[in-house]
């Protein structure tokens, strides 16, 4: 430290490292010009405040649900998206260089793609080796000859850059198939501009929003789409994708509906989105799914996420896909070693952004270099397919056997930048993921991007976002920047669209979410009643209503059926064991923990439709143990509370549109079924011991308070049944559910305008009318056996109708038929 300045700085701890460029400080430990305002500002904010900012930013990302789902599925826990508080500033002069280099590279790569999927002159004239096309899984034969819309073969492009020791930027990797990170860059900017609102607005930082606007406008004009309500969708592999958060964020920000493979279908050589009211044409797809998974019909048939026939639609030029299918050719690692020559040949220019030094083992010079320097080089797959370099396999032999499949590259020594970690500043290796999109005339580069950081260069090289951190890249302008609010987006029109239609898949998941929630709540109430009784001083056989409660559990297959169905035979210990199974066993489909898992899964599938708060509540269900731990009664109470909180938040925050209707419909169907079964099973027993069983029936139906408030009298059969069956003002009654269902079906989109023309409408009306006409007067225990029998018949018929109702709704609106591939087998002939 040569400086005489004695003011202590947060950055005093930063050590200059040999072999790597230091982003923030010169070799003389002087802060670089474009870092000065940021270092100064951070020092002024101070360590304590930064710590708070860090926590705040973490909370914000958590609330936004910004996660990386783990690649390793066994952990089942998602990792938070790690954003560092210290941005990575780049001066505008330097950025201009990056911009020019990236634009040139995008133009070059697009020309290469156009040739590869067209005349293949580069192959014929020997500019590229045959292996690059014929032995490369990234070249898709079925995409050859396809003319993409607007003649644009590359419409979004990303590259990983690093700054070498000499201070120059080099390209480590190119991405075209489905570049990732655009959404995380956006999230970083949103969080940073909120946390450092003051600094952000004082500093002249180029805004990201105009880039997204350019992207959108170029797509509209290229594909000749309507300005209002263009048929663009964002195609995600779904919630199981590690980057699902990014897809959901981009979908919201760009206003492109988030769809999955099963939402789309191909008819007449065109793509359609399956919605409740029917098929809606799709004219452009912003895909976040790799080339090979995009079309199970033409490409890999084992893929579950694609759309069968998508490539055929491309052949017919009926869709604009960003990026066009087959563009993953650009991702081929070895391609970049040919770019310097191809740049001269195709653009008559020198390549502006140099590559990270790499050699292909498929030619003799490259192989020689690899053999001579193997110890200092990193061996990689040349074509990007998975290669197993671990274990006892001799790498030298592997390379010699199939040299064209390997490439070697120089050690990576990226620059170091200050990073905030555990209350202090340390140095972190840094890559820059930068993005470009096609414009009418060429390419536009996003002024900023995603800085990816890690404590060691090896982690940086790997594709493991859960082990890396990130920074927001700030491109500092010399001129004042035009204010452009990120959050407003540019798609303000969509805010006012009250489209009353939604994808069938979403409706299906919401319906089941409603059903599972209700199922979980019902079961928990039932088990809670059982535990309450067992926790008293009475012996099981002395609790008359226990038989009734256990009968219900047995009927629902939650505890095993005993041969004589008599609880006096059931030992207390046995019973406890059964109940534990009902609570904690993951392998039992009807156990509490299994149903809770299904609640979480379905909620996850529609995460983008639920409020942030409700998504947070659902994560608390993770705490439900899978082994007996503590007081089950307490656990059941707590879980019921969480579920109620979730239902309340989810329902409250949803507009009363179709999504809400489907979720509520699921709940009503499940509750009505549950209620019908409860009463049917309880009926023969209530008369044996009227008081206790009736009370238990009211208790598990959550109607005890209502009954007491209304009748203030002893429990009697007729009023209890009236409350649970016919009272339309009791939200737990059968009549209430039927009336809700009748209202819902009336509001579903339908093909025929005539009322009651579809079967689910007729069934709902039939159930509602039957329960309204139900005569319960004089219903008493004792002689009137026939009355009880006719009630039982009524309940059975209601259960049948409910099942049929659910089937009709699924069949009409949600039909998700599985796709089966078929191939003929060639057995051939053998001559006799």
């Amino acid at each position: 430290m040569t400086s005489t300045d004695v003011t202590p700085s947060l950055f005093d701890s930063v050590a200059l490292s040999r072999g790597s460029y230091c982003e923030a400080f010169s070799a003389q430990r002087q802060p670089r010009g474009h870092w000065q305002p940021i270092l100064g500002a951070l020092d002024a904010i101070g360590g304590d405040a930064l710590r708070q900012h860090h926590e705040r930013a973490k909370r914000m990302r958590h609330e936004d649900g910004a996660t990386i789902n783990p690649f390793d599925e066994t952990t089942e826990r998602s990792t938070s998206w790690a954003l560092d508080m210290i941005p990575l500033p780049i001066s505008e002069t330097e950025w201009t260089g990056i911009e020019a280099g990236l634009t040139q590279r995008a133009l070059l790569l697009e020309k290469i793609l156009a040739d590869t999927y067209g005349p293949q002159a580069l192959l014929r004239n020997g500019s590229i080796p045959p292996e690059l096309i014929f032995a490369n899984g990234n070249f898709l034969h079925s995409c050859h000859g396809i003319q993409p819309s607007g003649g644009r073969f590359l419409t979004v492009y990303a590259a990983d850059l690093y700054r070498g020791e000499d201070g120059r930027f080099r390209v480590l990797r190119d991405y075209a198939s489905n570049p990732a990170g655009l959404g995380y860059a956006l999230e970083n900017r949103i969080v940073m501009s909120r946390v450092f609102a003051d600094l952000y607005h004082r500093t002249q930082i180029l805004r990201l929003a105009p880039f997204f606007q350019t992207f959108h406008r170029a797509l509209i004009s290229r594909a000749s789409l309507r300005i209002e309500d263009p048929g663009i969708v964002l195609f995600s592999p779904g919630p199981d994708s590690p980057l699902y958060f990014e897809h959901a964020l981009l979908s919201r920000y760009l206003g492109y509906p988030l769809v999955e493979g099963q939402d789309l279908t191909v008819r007449n050589g065109k793509v359609f989105l399956k919605k409740l009211a029917g098929l809606e044409p799709v004219e452009a797809i912003f895909r976040h799914i790799p080339d090979l998974s995009s079309d199970p019909f033409a490409l890999r048939r084992e893929t579950a996420n694609g759309v069968a026939g998508l490539i055929q639609v491309c052949r017919e030029q009926n869709i604009d896909i960003v990026n066009p299918l087959g563009s993953g050719f650009v991702d081929t690692p070895v391609l970049k070693t040919y770019l310097p020559i191809l740049c001269r040949q195709l653009l008559s220019e020198e390549l502006l952004l140099a590559n990270h030094p790499a050699w292909w083992c498929g030619n003799s010079e490259g192989l020689q270099h690899a053999m001579d320097n193997l110890g200092q080089l990193t061996v990689e797959s040349a074509m990007g397919q998975a290669i197993d370099l671990a274990g006892p396999v001799d790498i030298l032999t592997a390379i010699k056997t199939k040299p064209s499949q390997y490439m070697v590259s120089a050690p990576l020594a990226p620059s170091l930048a200050p990073a905030w970690e555990h209350n202090g500043v340390r140095e972190s290796y840094t890559l820059l993921r930068v993005f470009a999109c096609a414009t009418e005339h060429g390419f536009a580069v996003m002024p900023g991007g995603l800085a990816i950081t890690a404590g060691d260069a090896a982690t940086l090289r790997k594709n493991c976002p859960e082990k890396q951190q990130s920074k927001d890249i700030w491109v500092l302008s010399d001129k004042p920047v035009e204010p452009f609010t990120l959050m407003d987006g540019f798609h303000t029109i969509s805010e006012f669209r009250r489209s009353n239609d939604l994808p069938s898949r979403v409706a299906d998941n919401l319906l089941w979410l409603g059903r599972y929630l209700e199922r979980a709540e019902g079961l928990i109430r039932l088990l809670r009643s059982v535990y309450r009784r067992l926790s008293g001083e009475d012996r099981p056989q002395d609790i008359p209503e226990l038989q009734f409660l256990l009968n219900i559990l047995q009927t629902k297959n939650i505890i095993p059926k005993t041969p004589d169905a008599d609880i006096s035979q059931l030992l207390f210990r046995q019973l406890t064991e059964h109940l534990h199974t009902a609570l904690y066993r993951k392998d039992r489909p009807e156990s509490v923990i299994s149903i809770l898992k299904r609640v979480q899964q379905t909620a996850r599938n529609v995460r983008d439709r639920l409020s942030v708060d409700s998504s947070r509540v659902i994560n608390r269900l993770d705490d439900f143990p899978d082994t007996p731990l503590g007081d089950p009664l307490e656990l059941l109470d707590k879980t019921l509370f969480t579920l109620s909180a979730f239902s309340g938040l989810a329902m409250e925050s949803m507009t009363r549109g179709l999504g809400w209707r489907f979720m509520d419909m699921g709940r009503r169907v499940e509750r009505a079924m549950n209620q019908a079964v409860l009463i049917r099973i309880g009926l023969p027993q209530v008369c044996g011991d009227s008081r206790n069983t009736l009370q238990a029936l009211l208790e598990v139906s959550d109607s005890l308070m209502t009954y007491r408030a209304r009748y203030k009298s002893a429990f009697q059969l007729a009023p209890v049944l009236d409350l649970l069956l016919a009272d339309e003002s009791n939200p737990k009654s059968l009549a209430f559910q039927f009336s809700g269902l009748a209202d819902h079906v009336e509001h579903l989109p339908r093909l025929s305008e005539r009322r009651f023309s579809c079967s689910e409408e007729r069934i709902a009306l039939q159930m509602l009318t039957t329960v309204r006409l139900l005569d319960l007067t004089g219903m008493k225990c004792g002689e009137e056996k026939t009355q009880q029998e006719s009630l039982a018949t009524f309940l059975v018929s209601m259960e049948t109708l409910l099942k049929e109702f659910a089937q009709q709704v699924s069949g009409h609106y949600l039909s998700r038929v599985p796709a089966t591939p078929h191939y003929t087998m060639i057995s051939g002939d053998r001559l006799e």
Binding site: F134, A135, Q312, T824, G828, D829, L831
Partner: protein, 295 residues
């Protein structure tokens, strides 16, 4: 020879299929030894969408979609072709296999570059040491390339048993090598894997073969089948077709439909069906020699 080929594929679904999408490689290729006089494609129910194109390898492909509920689907192709006996070089007179490998790697001539795409592993034909080891005995140093291939095909014919029950569409080359049995598709894949492993260019050919009933027996309609064999690149000559299933260099009784890197490129019928429950597949092929003038 003039042939009339009828190739029928039928699907019966246990439940109505709502959407069916299919790709057909049933239209025979025009080659120096094969003239396609006519080819008619009939699909029942009539598809709402039908598209025809020439693929990367020059094959004719039809893609169609039936978009309304249907319980069965029938596709039939009726082709009339005239074949002639291919001229093939004497196997022992062809150049040494090593020099073929070199010429393909050097690919100085456009035909060699064109052929070199069939040197590499493809999705269904892996190339690994076990296949190379199997190929070696047929390719001693200096062996004429076609001589070696003829011997390889002979060994596959004698050492592997023909067994329809042993294979599925997904049977791999490794499995065939271990099990020592399979059908024509498996033998073709194995032979291709062996040849590519050495650095030679070999492609997969899909087509038909006229079968002759045993003496005194009448030929049964539909007794034929789709067939598959291989084609080997011989420099300064072109491609020579060999049939590992029957230990033959192909003749005028072979009708070529399509070729590609492996079965996956040229499956005669492949498709995706939405719904439909359980599928019952029926395939019927009939290859009839025609008199000239007969329609």
């Amino acid at each position: 020879m003039k042939y009339r080929i009828l190739h029928k594929t039928g699907y019966n679904y246990s439940a109505p299929a709502s959407l069916s999408q299919n790709e057909l490689f049933l239209y025979p290729r025009q080659t120096p030894t094969q003239e396609v006089l006519d080819c008619q494609l009939t699909i029942v129910p009539e598809p709402q969408y039908l598209h025809r194109r020439i693929d990367y390898f020059g094959n004719t492909v039809h893609v169609f979609m039936v978009q309304h509920p249907h319980n069965e689907l029938a596709m039939s192709a009726t082709s009339i072709v005239r074949t002639s006996r291919p001229v093939t070089p004497a196997p022992e007179k062809t150049v040494a296999w090593e020099s073929v490998v070199q010429r393909l790697a050097g690919h100085k001539q456009p035909v060699e570059l064109e052929a070199s795409q069939f040197v590499f592993a493809s999705p269904l034909v892996t190339v690994n040491s076990s296949a190379i080891d199997y190929a070696r005995p047929s390719f001693a140093p200096g062996t004429p390339v076609l001589g070696g291939a003829v011997d390889l095909v002979r060994r596959i014919f004698t050492e592997f048993s023909y067994d329809k029950s042993a294979s599925t569409v997904d049977t791999t080359v490794e499995q065939v090598l271990v099990n020592r049995k399979g059908v024509c598709q498996d033998f073709a894949h194995l032979a291709i894997s062996c040849l590519r492993g050495l650095g030679l260019a070999a492609r997969y050919v899909s087509g038909y073969l006229e079968t002759v009933p045993p003496p005194g027996k009448q030929k049964l309609v539909g007794a034929d089948a789709s067939h598959a064999w291989i084609s080997l690149f011989v420099p300064d000559f072109g491609w020579v077709d060999l049939d590992p299933t029957n230990n033959l260099i192909t003749n005028e009784t072979y009708i070529t439909v399509a070729w590609g890197r492996d079965y996956g490129d040229v499956a005669p019928v492949k498709g995706v069906v939405m719904g439909g429950g359980v599928h019952m597949l029926s395939v019927m092929v009939d290859v009839r020699a025609q008199c000239e003038g007969e329609k």
